[in-house]
Each structure stands twice: as structure tokens, then as C-alpha cells.
Amino acid sequence: MAVTNISPKKKKLDEQNVYLPSIAVIERIIEETPSVRTMHFNFKDEKLRKKFVFESGQFAELSVFGIGEATFCISSSPTRNDHLECTVNRVGLVTNALHRLGVGAEIGFRGPYGNSFPLELMRGKNLVFVGGGIGLAPLRSVIFNVLDNRNKYGKINIIDGARTPADLCFKYDLDSWQQDKSIDVSITVDKGDENWTGMEGFVPAVLEQVAPSASDAIAIVCGPPIMIRFTFPVLEKLGFSPEQIITTLEKRMKCGIGKCGRCNIGNIYVCRDGPVFTYAQMKNFISDEY
């Protein structure tokens, strides 16, 4: 029933220089919101395209040559592997540079790094996905993964929200999930506009209204820190134990391989030991700096 501890990946990385990026070419750009875009890309090297594997929840270091590297989760699913996707919020130096690129531009890619969502442990369970804003990006990878193996999982509940209708990411996915009779989808915005006919209210409040059963269920949460902080208590109130709650942590990172130091929380390195953790694991962190 409870998800046991999610362990870090122990696999040895490739013998080659771990800091060398592979060249990837942008194939398509979807402007999600005024400040968020999803980039579809593929490796320039055909052999690498075939060889490359990753799991939902893992992340990568993307670089714009001459500007620098930044960390992004892979927002596409390994079950749909004709290309990779990363979703980029324009907030800093590298993300602004990524927003200036067009189709055909070449970027650097290092990864995949980190552990992944525990699909084995999620098998046969009812799943509750709680997302907020761009936090849907890592969830989207695992949601597709689950939908592409629909019969292996129980009930699926997706609760997603954003500040305004214009801030909702992946509207096309939300639409298609809403059409899907095999899943329950609730979409909310903090404040609607004149065209908005959906729910209004913060994600944790909507979660409480929807009140998915905790029985034989696992909740997977990702969103801004403030949303996560208010979502965990609601899930606990609904009967979810900390072992049944999974999230993926965001930290500033540079190396992605547990060396450069900045994603350190106590003795944990989010890049090396995470980024996916259960709430139970987080409660055992010896630091409160997350």
C-alpha cells in the first residue's frame, strides 16, 4: 500500500565526459503562456536518438552555447519517444536565451539525471495527480506514461490549476484528458476571466472538494512551493499517509551529478538522490531548506 522509499539511481553514468553536452535540434515550439514555451527537440546524432533512454521524472541540463546551462525536467513521456520535450519558463539568463531560439536552432543536452517516478510501485493503484502552473510538466511525463499503459493502473484523477486561464500550461493536453472518459480531470484557476467557465479557486481547495479517496491510492504533486506546502496537509486530511504522497523537488542546480553542491538539503543532493521523493522521505530530511 505505502510507497516504500524511492531510491536514487545507482547506475554508472557513461564512461565519456559527463559534462559534454550532446547537440539537439529544436523541431517545434509551442507557446504555452506568454512566459512559458515547450520545445520539441531531437538529437542531431541519429545513433544517439536510438540509444537514448530516460524515465518519467528525470531531468536534463539544457544549454544555449555562449549563454550557459540550466536544469529542466523532461516533460515528454518515454512511451512517446519520437522526440523529447522540455518546458521552459522565462525567468533568467538561460531561459530567456531559450525563448529567443527558433525551430532549427541547436542546443546542448546533458542527461538524463536523477531518479524517476516509481511506476512499479504505482502499478494497480489509484492515482491522484495534483499540478500547478508549470508544475504540470514533470507530471505530464508520467501521466502520458500511465495513460499509454492504462489497464495497469486504477482510477486516475488529475487536478491542475494556474493563476489565470492565460497561465494554464498544456491546454491541448488538458482538453484531450477532459475528453478521456477513463480519467477524472478538474481544472481550476485562482481567478477566471470573462471567458472562463471552469472552476475557480486554489488547487489545494479544489483538491479538498474533489476529495479523491486515499484508499489504495498514490498522490503525485508538483507545483510552486506555496502550492505544495498547502497541498500536503489537504492530502493528509483526506487520509493519505506521507508514504502515499510523492513529489519532485526543484532546486538550483549546475552539474546535475551531485558535485557542484547547490541542491544540497542536509546530506541529500536533490540531483543525485532525487528529485523524486515521498513526503515521508522529506519529513526525514535533516534540514528544512526545501
Binding site: N17, Y19, G66, R252, C255, C260
Partner: protein, 345 residues
């Protein structure tokens, strides 16, 4: 282990022999800043004035700034080039504390996910230790379980016994390095006796002590005591010098530089003392100064030992000597409140 000896007069010859197929680095003064730098083939006056380097020897393995690779823009695309060549090097004069620091860095950079830049330098570099004869007041290596004159983390260990150096062969590679050196003789019983005497004398000069017993547990218990940490961080000005000059601090940044068509990716030292180090768009987990000071202390004495089984502080005292406001890690460690209630968890 056979102990050998060499007359100080023959040191130029020995270093010159080594210099035939390796680059020899020795403690050097450049505008007052002492660091390991390439020997000019003549000058060994450092034997007179050298106490320890200002810039720790980690800079020979994890340089303050290093090029990782270059890239070139061709039309829409990029090609990447790495220069992998690494010369053979011999570092002479590393102190036992700093040799231990390299062994500590090995745990990070030579783990299952090897850091190619560090590893290529490390595998091509021999460490020749030189025991201290005049430790600083700020030194506290003996509290980190080290000795100012003994080391297992070098290839050869030199100890000053007056007119001669006694040499211990620590590794096979070190032994080989002496095999062809003409000026090296076998040490006598009397020499070994003076070695022991010299050691005891220097060890007694390290008077600063830190009680590291149960330090992990103590720091864990007081982690949430923000009052204590605020006090401990009070005078810190977040200049980062204690981390940059720390021989075991290894935090780094990665950044790019680009002219029109050519560019390079570099990595350079960074510091958990800077608030921007952990800054994210939405929030910063270590915005407050006391959190950063706590991170620095706890990483060395709590988190690193939990992960790697060894305290990441060698007691070299550089952080004490270099601090512009006299922040002192030994005072902070010495006053960790043991039985405070855990707050802020």
C-alpha cells in the same frame, strides 16, 4: 617501510631530476600570495619561509577557473572540442592537512560518476608531503585526527630534521621516484630517533583544539536553533573567502563565454556563502545569512561525514587566517548548544 634521507643541499638536484619528465610545483610567492606553482629549476628558498600556501593545493586539481571545452559556431550548428592532454606533475611541499583535503576531494570527484577534469589531473600528479615545522596559531589539524608531520595521503613524506630531510616512502609510485635519485641515502637509527623527536616537538605546537566528539549528533540536535546560528553568523559579511580558500570546499559554478563564433564553457569556484548560490526564481532556500553559515559548518561536520564517513575539515586554519572579520569556526564548533529544543523544523 624503509626511511631514507637527503641533505637539504641536494634538494635542487632531486627536484631537477624529477623535473626531467614531470612538471614540478613548489610553494611559490606571487605578489605575496603563496600557492603551488611551477618551479623555476633553481630557487628553493621556500624551504626557509614556507609555512603553508594561501591558495590551497586543490587549485591544482579544481582550478579557480578552468576551461571544460570550447565550441565553435558553424552556420546554425555547433561543434565541441575538448582538450584532454594532461602533463605529469609532482607537487612538492604539500602539508599533511592539505594532502588529506585532496583525499577528501577524491571521494567526491572520483566516485562512481567520475569527474574527468579532476581525475585526469589527479592521476597524473604525485604528492610529496613536507611536514610542518612552524604551524600557525590558527592551525587545529590534530583535532581533525591529523598530524602536522605525518601523512598517509601522499606518495612520499618529507620531515625536516635539521640539515637533512627524512623521507618515508608511502606508495610504490613514491618509492619508484626515489629509486633513481642519486642523492638519497638510507637513514640511520639516529636519524629515525631525531625524526620522532622533531615530530613530537611540532605536534606540541598545535595548541588550538576543537572537540569533535559526537559532533554530527550535536549539530543535528541544534540544527533548528536559529538563535544560535544567527549569533554564530552575526559578524559574517558573506565575502566567501573562507570557502574559496578552504582546501576541501569544492562547490563550483559552470558558465559560458562567447565571442562571435568561438566560445568556451568554464567552471569556477563558487561558494555557499553567497546568497545567489541557491537563488531560484520563486524563492531562495538560503536567503538568510545564518542559513548559509549553518550550511558551511554543517556540510563540513555533519552532512559530509554522513555521506562519506569523514569530516570535511582538516584544521588547516585558512578560514581563520583569511577572515576579514575574525569569524572563527573553532569558536562556533566549540559552542554548539547540545540540549536546545529543536525549532524551525
Amino acid at each position: 617501510m624503509t626511511i631514507k634521507k637527503i641533505s637539504k643541499k641536494d634538494m635542487v638536484k632531486l627536484l631537477a631530476d624529477w623535473g626531467l619528465d614531470s612538471t614540478v610545483l613548489i610553494p611559490s610567492r606571487d605578489e605575496g600570495v603563496i600557492e603551488m606553482a611551477e618551479w623555476d629549476g633553481k630557487d628553493i628558498s621556500f624551504l626557509e619561509w614556507y609555512r603553508n600556501t594561501v591558495i590551497p593545493p586543490k587549485s591544482s586539481f579544481l582550478p579557480p577557473m578552468e576551461e571544460m571545452f570550447t565550441f565553435q559556431k558553424n552556420g546554425n550548428g555547433y561543434s565541441i572540442e575538448v582538450s584532454a592532454e594532461q602533463r605529469k606533475r609532482i607537487i612538492f611541499g604539500i602539508r599533511p592537512c592539505d594532502a588529506k583535503a585532496i583525499a577528501i576531494l577524491d571521494k567526491v570527484f572520483m566516485d562512481s560518476c567520475e569527474d574527468p577534469y579532476y581525475v585526469s589531473k589527479r592521476k597524473n600528479t604525485m604528492l610529496i608531503g613536507l611536514g610542518c615545522n612552524k604551524p600557525y596559531d590558527s592551525c587545529f589539524c590534530t583535532s581533525s585526527g591529523l598530524s602536522p608531520t605525518e601523512s598517509a595521503d601522499v606518495d612520499l613524506m618529507f620531515t625536516d630534521i635539521g640539515d637533512d630531510f627524512l623521507i618515508e616512502e608511502i606508495t610504490d609510485e613514491g618509492e619508484e621516484l626515489l629509486a633513481t635519485a642519486g642523492a638519497v641515502k638510507k637513514a640511520s637509527q639516529a636519524d629515525v630517533a631525531s625524526l620522532k623527536k622533531a615530530r613530537a616537538a611540532v605536534e606540541g605546537m598545535v595548541t588550538r583544539k576543537v572537540d569533535t566528539k559526537n559532533i554530527i549528533e550535536k549539530l543535528q540536535a541544534s540544527f533548528g536553533d536559529s538563535d544560535y546560528w544567527e549569533k554564530a553568523a552575526d559578524k559574517c559579511i558573506s565575502c566567501g573567502v573562507c570557502t574559496l580558500l578552504c582546501p576541501t570546499c569544492y562547490c563550483f559554478d559552470i558558465c559560458d563565454e562567447l565571442t562571435k563564433k568561438h566560445g568556451a564553457r568554464y567552471r569556477g569556484w563558487d561558494s555557499c556563502g553567497f546568497s545567489i548560490y541557491t537563488k531560484m526564481p520563486m524563492e531562495n532556500p538560503r536567503e538568510e545569512k545564518w542559513r548559509r553559515v549553518r550550511q558551511k559548518v554543517c556540510h563540513k561536520y555533519e552532512f559530509f561525514p554522513m555521506n562519506y564517513g569523514v569530516i570535511a575539515c582538516t584544521g588547516c586554519g585558512r578560514c581563520i587566517r583569511s577572515c576579514p572579520v575574525n569569524w572563527d569556526i573553532t569558536h562556533v564548533l566549540g559552542s554548539v548548544p547540545v540540549e536546545q529544543p529543536i525549532k524551525n523544523r
